[in-house]
């Protein structure tokens, strides 16, 4: 592990100890810093906190927020809540998959430009179906609208 990573982890550790935070917060911070959660970061923390890695691993795999692999530069989140579902979310997902050329078992594009994710209701049901690209909310989407909206993210370097 390089020095910079150790320093970052050490900083997270001190912060979390000061705030009496739990494993979930620790992992949220690790993910925030590195984009995803690496095994070596967990092992470092496990040794530092004397909590077995199995606890961390259990938490990582339980909560859908945690990722063990790097994700794409742009995160496309399709809402699959009830309202978005009845207003056509399934068709939006298949269109996005097709547009980004994602295979069935694949959520991130080869070039790491996009990751497709689902969420259960972002709480904007009035403008369903909803798609988020990174932090930006697109309401009242259709398969063709979302393809159009994604274009803007494709050309950017």
């Amino acid at each position: 592990m390089d020095k910079q990573m150790t320093e970052t982890l050490e900083a997270i550790y001190s912060r979390c100890v000061a705030n009496e935070d739990n494993i979930i917060t620790v992992l949220q911070e690790i993910q925030h810093e590195f984009g995803y959660i690496q095994e070596e970061a967990v092992n470092w923390f496990s040794a530092r906190t004397n909590i077995p890695p199995s606890k961390y691993y259990g938490v990582i795999t339980f909560y859908s927020q945690f990722h063990q692999k790097p994700r794409g530069k742009n995160i496309v989140t399709v809402c699959c809540g009830t309202v978005c579902h009845v207003k056509g979310a399934p068709r939006i997902i298949s269109k996005v998959r097709e547009d980004l050329k994602l295979k069935d078992d694949q959520d991130t594009t080869r070039d790491m430009a996009f990751t497709l994710e689902h969420v259960n209701c972002v709480g904007a049901c009035s403008i369903a179906p909803v798609v988020l690209v990174n932090e930006k909310v697109f309401g009242k989407q259709t398969p063709s609208k979302i393809v159009n909206n994604l274009k803007a993210y494709k050309d950017k370097p």
Binding site: E39, I51, P52, P53, S54, Y56, Y57, T61, F62
Partner: protein, 348 residues
């Protein structure tokens, strides 16, 4: 004390006792799969459900504290139906492998399937595929047979204090594995193996050996250390094929890696069967009789004592000997040879 009624029978239990404990006191049999009185209640298998007057839904007896005046039913038609569905669901996600499974005859799931007469299962569908070969010297893990009772996880954490295995994923895909899906790397005490109700965890050494039919059980004491854990040997002919320990023993059924898995020496060809004496410096060990050996030892001890004094001698004994033998050993050193240079791995 708390008084309650279970299946029309009165029973008195101590404050804090669960309904299951109260029922067991009355010798009422309630099926359980995820319960072990040595571990904290978990409430996952839902087999121990009972109906309690005033409660809208069945509750698990293993987790529900008994209270005064409670009226409990453990065996209604409704409970039978729910338990049967639960067993069927478990079997619908379980390899139908009993013929060749190491757990046969010693498996709670098999017993439940038999008790509820499940020849045909109403439910069929996807099965988990979590099997991967875990490369480690002691424990075979067949996670497709895991019923997620959580006993192994709890024993490893609560009793062994190790936490080598844990739950991962959730929902139908939930499983029990070491972190990041690596091979098991732990103390190999086998506590987890001992509590697993199915064939999901077993001893590597047990494989291919007789399971139940024709197996002889002998209660004895582990000779590895001064703790003297109670163990039960399973044997066929002159072969010890498995060692476990009963939950009601003084060691509560818990053993260490040596006591549980270190029994291959018994029939090992490398094992010494006669004393060996090296008669010349640099020479080979030669077989000898016990009389020869005793005489040789006595002669050398006397020579050293005469020449250098008693304190030139010291004795180290072993916890693998009995108390009586250890007593005699220190007696010999202190009283006969005349030195206090005597010790033992569990201390005198």
């Amino acid at each position: 004390m708390i008084n309650l009624t279970i299946d029309d029978k009165q029973i008195e239990v101590a404050e804090g006792a669960t309904v299951l404990e109260a029922a067991r006191k009355l010798n009422i049999d309630i099926p359980t799969l995820c319960h072990d009185p040595r571990l904290k209640p978990y409430g996952a298998c839902r087999l121990c459900i009972v109906e309690i007057g005033g409660m809208a839904k069945p509750v698990t007896s293993c987790t529900t504290p008994a209270t005064n005046g409670m009226v409990v039913k453990t065996n209604t038609a409704k409970l039978y139906r729910l338990r049967k569905t639960t067993v069927e669901l478990l079997l619908s996600d379980h390899p139908n492998d009993c013929m060749t499974c190491i757990g046969t005859g010693d498996c709670k799931l098999q017993e439940l399937a038999y008790a509820y007469g499940i020849r045909e299962n109403r439910f069929q569908g996807a099965m988990r595929d979590h099997n991967r070969v875990d490369v480690n010297p002691f424990i075979t893990r067949e996670q497709n047979k895991c019923v997620m009772c959580g006993l192994c996880v709890r024993v490893c954490e609560e009793v062994q204090g190790v936490g080598a295995i844990g739950y991962a994923e959730r929902g139908f895909e939930a499983k029990v594995i070491p972190p990041f899906g690596h091979d098991l790397k732990c103390e190999f005490c086998g506590q987890c193996v001992s509590v697993c109700p199915t064939g999901a965890l077993s001893g590597r050494l047990w494989s291919g050996k007789p399971r139940m039919a024709g197996v002889k059980f002998t209660d004895t004491t582990c000779t590895y250390c001064g703790c003297g854990c109670n163990i039960t040997l399973r044997s066929t002919g002159d072969q010890v094929i498995r060692i476990d320990s009963k939950p009601d023993s003084h060691n509560r059924g818990w053993l260490c890696v040596k006591g549980r898995f270190g029994f291959e020496f018994i029939n090992s060809a490398d094992r010494l069967t006669t004393p060996l004496i090296r008669r010349q410096k640099g020479g080979e060990f030669e077989q000898a009789t016990w009389d020869e050996a005793y005489d040789y030892v006595a002669k050398r001890l006397s020579e050293i004592k005469d020449k250098h004094g008693a304190d030139a001698l010291g004795g180290l004994c072993s916890a693998r000997c009995t108390n009586e033998e250890n007593y005699l050993f220190q007696k010999m050193f202190r009283a006969r040879i005349g030195t206090n240079n005597v010790d033992h791995c569990a201390r005198y």
